[in-house]
Symmetry: D4
Subunit: 206 residues, 8 copies
Amino acid sequence: MAFTYNRLDKNNAAVLLVDHQAGLLSLVRDFSPDDFKNNVLALADIAKFFGLPTILTTSFEDGPNGPMVPELKAMFPDAPYFARPGQINAWDNEEFLAAVKATGKKQLIIAGVVTEVCVAFPVLSALEAGYEVFVCTDASGTFNQTTREASWSRMEQAGAQLMTWFAIGCELHRDWRNDVEGFGGLLAGHLPQYANLIQSYSVQKG
Amino acid sequence: MAFTYNRLDKNNAAVLLVDHQAGLLSLVRDFSPDDFKNNVLALADIAKFFGLPTILTTSFEDGPNGPMVPELKAMFPDAPYFARPGQINAWDNEEFLAAVKATGKKQLIIAGVVTEVCVAFPVLSALEAGYEVFVCTDASGTFNQTTREASWSRMEQAGAQLMTWFAIGCELHRDWRNDVEGFGGLLAGHLPQYANLIQSYSVQKG
Amino acid sequence: MAFTYNRLDKNNAAVLLVDHQAGLLSLVRDFSPDDFKNNVLALADIAKFFGLPTILTTSFEDGPNGPMVPELKAMFPDAPYFARPGQINAWDNEEFLAAVKATGKKQLIIAGVVTEVCVAFPVLSALEAGYEVFVCTDASGTFNQTTREASWSRMEQAGAQLMTWFAIGCELHRDWRNDVEGFGGLLAGHLPQYANLIQSYSVQKG
Amino acid sequence: MAFTYNRLDKNNAAVLLVDHQAGLLSLVRDFSPDDFKNNVLALADIAKFFGLPTILTTSFEDGPNGPMVPELKAMFPDAPYFARPGQINAWDNEEFLAAVKATGKKQLIIAGVVTEVCVAFPVLSALEAGYEVFVCTDASGTFNQTTREASWSRMEQAGAQLMTWFAIGCELHRDWRNDVEGFGGLLAGHLPQYANLIQSYSVQKG
Amino acid sequence: MAFTYNRLDKNNAAVLLVDHQAGLLSLVRDFSPDDFKNNVLALADIAKFFGLPTILTTSFEDGPNGPMVPELKAMFPDAPYFARPGQINAWDNEEFLAAVKATGKKQLIIAGVVTEVCVAFPVLSALEAGYEVFVCTDASGTFNQTTREASWSRMEQAGAQLMTWFAIGCELHRDWRNDVEGFGGLLAGHLPQYANLIQSYSVQKG
Amino acid sequence: MAFTYNRLDKNNAAVLLVDHQAGLLSLVRDFSPDDFKNNVLALADIAKFFGLPTILTTSFEDGPNGPMVPELKAMFPDAPYFARPGQINAWDNEEFLAAVKATGKKQLIIAGVVTEVCVAFPVLSALEAGYEVFVCTDASGTFNQTTREASWSRMEQAGAQLMTWFAIGCELHRDWRNDVEGFGGLLAGHLPQYANLIQSYSVQKG
Amino acid sequence: MAFTYNRLDKNNAAVLLVDHQAGLLSLVRDFSPDDFKNNVLALADIAKFFGLPTILTTSFEDGPNGPMVPELKAMFPDAPYFARPGQINAWDNEEFLAAVKATGKKQLIIAGVVTEVCVAFPVLSALEAGYEVFVCTDASGTFNQTTREASWSRMEQAGAQLMTWFAIGCELHRDWRNDVEGFGGLLAGHLPQYANLIQSYSVQKG
Amino acid sequence: MAFTYNRLDKNNAAVLLVDHQAGLLSLVRDFSPDDFKNNVLALADIAKFFGLPTILTTSFEDGPNGPMVPELKAMFPDAPYFARPGQINAWDNEEFLAAVKATGKKQLIIAGVVTEVCVAFPVLSALEAGYEVFVCTDASGTFNQTTREASWSRMEQAGAQLMTWFAIGCELHRDWRNDVEGFGGLLAGHLPQYANLIQSYSVQKG
């Protein structure tokens, strides 16, 4: 049974950011707040860096779930943005779905809050629709570790690939020579320990 | 190999609550007692909210395993209830099995104590019988984390979908507009951190 | 150097509930939300059960910190309540301080959010003022375990006694015969595993 | 793709205890020593209780690996016992293999030390040979959690079922009425918390 | 400020076992059930081995708290035993206190369930009464780690010495030559990993 | 024995930042890199916000320990800065010590890498010299949790107060009315979960 | 669906060591530094012991990623070594790929830093190319546990076998009699607890 | 109450290594075997580097406790060495005590196995005798974390200073200029992550 490596391809991938809203973020407890904020912004930076079509959506943003976090809004001022009137699974929202199709991409990178609902539901729908789906696990958060593990199990079973923002960035970039400074800067901005290596190197190299 | 998203459907799902008994609950140590009680009652509330046929069963309730927890009994006064005379796997109890069949549903949401026996055994039997099976992992408890992980592995391997009460509720509800107040109230009653969001919102919105 | 056991005395103790506000509670991550809610309400029930003078206070409740959680407000409708206009240490609020003095008690049971500020600051002030201070550690929450440990260290060093709601309740009650039913009910309401023992007992005893 | 529930059958199962030796046990650090000793003896009691053919083997028992733990030897004085002269995978030992075949059983319950070698290797060999294989995960120990997880992954992938001694005992027993006292005694002997339930019950029932 | 080493002295120490009851034990979740049972029995064996006066007491043993665990009762058939009618702090029970005084010992080793109440309260009372107090921390259990840490803090602050059964046994024994076989047997019976060392040694030494 | 609350006073406190160097930071593993970077910058922001005299020092910055992290250097361009030629304890460096004395402050807030050396040594020296010492525990990092706990024990024993940046900021600020916007901004910049509260509030309040 | 046990065969296996560089190693936080160093050197010793063709590669070793760790370079002075000019996935480097093919082996043991990129990418490529792939999980490190788990999931899904250096060594060795002293020495050098067993044995055996 | 900083002084300190024996080491489970071995050898290297008088002792080394680990014996061939015939507290052995006194030092650095007995007992005895005592916490191991914490509490209470080998080395060294290469080499030999910094530095500096 031959295995095919469905490798992320910057020309064939879109990013879906689902329900990163100020209220919902207070529910995320499987990451520290600093780590989670950093992970979400790193994924957003990757989307920008590679020019991937990015779609944003929120659930009930006028209620207690709160508004989309402002950093994301600011980073994607022109991206399709859908404040869903009620559908829990973003894939059930026709406009959102049309926007996904309109990207013309076959690979979807999905992240959101909370993992087992706002991420898992569109992940499963997208897989059923024939997309290759890559979950950005560390830009997706939920109530606790047990919930996360159950949601990962369901998505794996369906054929989703579980990745992290760092792996996603590296698989999209393929070769440092495509842009050493740009990609190095992106990493340094989100990996303090990598920034330290660069700083020591710069100083020591003179 | 196409993936089919077997999505929970409130018109096609039944709930099986297996051996949530006062004695057996003292064995559950993979959740804090507060968390576990809340999870079980949340699943029960979901069953009520969506009007899902619900079946209760106990094992040796006249012995040290103790009686079904009274909250569950009170919530489902008219539900089929089977005090099994000895069968460890509830599926081996003919009356229980007849009741499951009588629901006419093809999707079973199963939770119980302890996970690797009272949940896993009927889960495997139901899968063999052709049902779509959804384990409510956080309303199912056992001795420790290692035992839980082994039991999850066995159920995954057989094709069960691992979920949590929150994901189950959201997948059944599909769209907030079906009943915003009702569903919001259900969540607030079992997610203190969500209740806080609602309270802040109400006050701030005025 | 003789040790004196400063034992909680229901005739000589008051309870201070500091900044249990809907917004601030979203910052608490050293307890699960279910556990923390239960702990806070258990302490409140203890205050009611023993008729201890109880004082509530909030910080900036009209801003993002949000309103006092409604359960507490409802339980203590006539208790002194101070919405502090700016003082971070409640002890710096003259009306709050006057209310504390007005209780005439020498033992203060203090809980709040977040531990290292809203609890620790008045704890240290009260110790300096000569009170015997008992921290209800599990009805006090903060950002993470490290922060909690640092705050405990500072309060211990100053002479505060670290307790939990269960120990506080038991030390105040002294003897079950003072009210077996009442105290048992209080415990059962906040310790699901104890409620299970009672239920099994009741059924088995017949 | 239909799922078949390969259910443990006391008439069709044998137990393989691999390398539970005094020296090797000092390497086990994914369980506390008390827990692990209890788990191994519980599995042995299950083998005895159900009269399952049981085979013991050791690796280099005259060297630092040390002798088979004496409790196991005492419990199975007449069981086939193979001190392997060098084969790391017990399945490579012809006498051991012949003994397995001689049981005439198609279901193998395997436990040993260390998990990723002494258990995983014969597990994979047995699966290749067409046996149904059940790993008793909590009577199998190794260096640390990471090693355990890797070994579980490899065995799952090959089709082994991961269980614990408690699930194995319950699946073999099927129905309490087959021997209430005997099975209850077995559980009480290895689950202190279950023994407590029984004791409370006995006293309260009078 | 000179330090005096208040060293446990087998001629001057008594053991108090407080509320190790079948029901209450189901509340203990800061140790695994196997570990906790072993720790309690190890302390009991130490009391027997050194012939230390031992006093047992229970709280409401006719109710849901349940009976004293039978192993302890069986080991100390002639020891003073007090089923307290209501006093939560055993020290408040006059007969218990009289029995403590009657031992004529100045060093008290205390263990019980739950730590912050049944242990901490008599610990503090005994310290106030001028006893040297040694808490057997691992034969004392409670709801969770946070509760344990708070209770340890309070007892430390009061001057109690926190020990474990192993340290208590070793400090009482002082010199292996007092009874090599007896003490070695005691350790081997409660430390499986030490029993393994002994077994390997015996076999290898021949 | 009366307790005096040595409360942080913005007019009487200085900040010492010890050895936050790019190389040494790679040794810090008791915090996630994101959390630690945030904590250090938060403390630096507090020093700026309250205009506290701040002193920076490094150890062997031309070698593998690497340069001071650039953010700190940039924030305090005019602060006294000492690249120590060899003294491990910064207090042994005469120029550093002179700079500390020159601040004229009696309260020292100290943070650094690694905790048990670069922080603990000057902490103990400063205590001996009569300063009131406040350790910023979460802006101080080291190899692992065990090392941290040992170092905390030593500093506590000597009389240092263990705090976190959040508690330090709040104790210095005393009253929100001194600068609501400024202090709120500082918190929001370093507590993503607090920033979320503010954002929801702003939107909901309109 | 028959299972085939693809067993490691010393005549058919090669080892790929990917990006174990001094700078990148500072990013590894899912193992303690001592454990990780030991694991990497153990795998290297295994490669030497069995004479497996071994290929080394680095990424941007002249930049902040730093040089290959010197121990590895010293152990394999004549091994193919590729300092990749930019390809993140080593498999994309034609010379590296040619070297892999030149080994003529069908089984690849792969380890590296960081797991989800430098290991997972060539693992997936090699699986696609038809190799049997064995990941040496404990000689592969990354940022944290969550990242590790996601990367393991992806590699499992593709059919890679997750192992540890100990299991790899044992599966390659097959029979102790092939070289008792050599293999025992290898284990003792990397398992302090096994070395202790050997030392006790040697002394006791005399 | 003035604090005096009892600072380790290489001219006034001796090292006591208590019961680091091959058998007893198998009991240590509060550190990974690799970490613990490294910590013990690091402390030994420190003793050698600073030429501190070092005393070794074992308990029943001819029995199952096993021989002193050979590395320590080899490093201190001429050090006083006492195989105690039975005293559990090394301080009770007159020859050991005489050797301690003969060093003429007032500062004792103590490490051993297991912490709560072989370390804590001589620590308390030495404190009573007026020595300044420094526990090398990470070269001392025991059964589990709970036991460690209890033993630390007892030693702290008595006035012992809890340190780690790294802090001990740094406090003894005082100034890198005393021997940059020597001390750097010592650290690099026991801190792989520091060795990496040095390697990167050397290469980058050229």
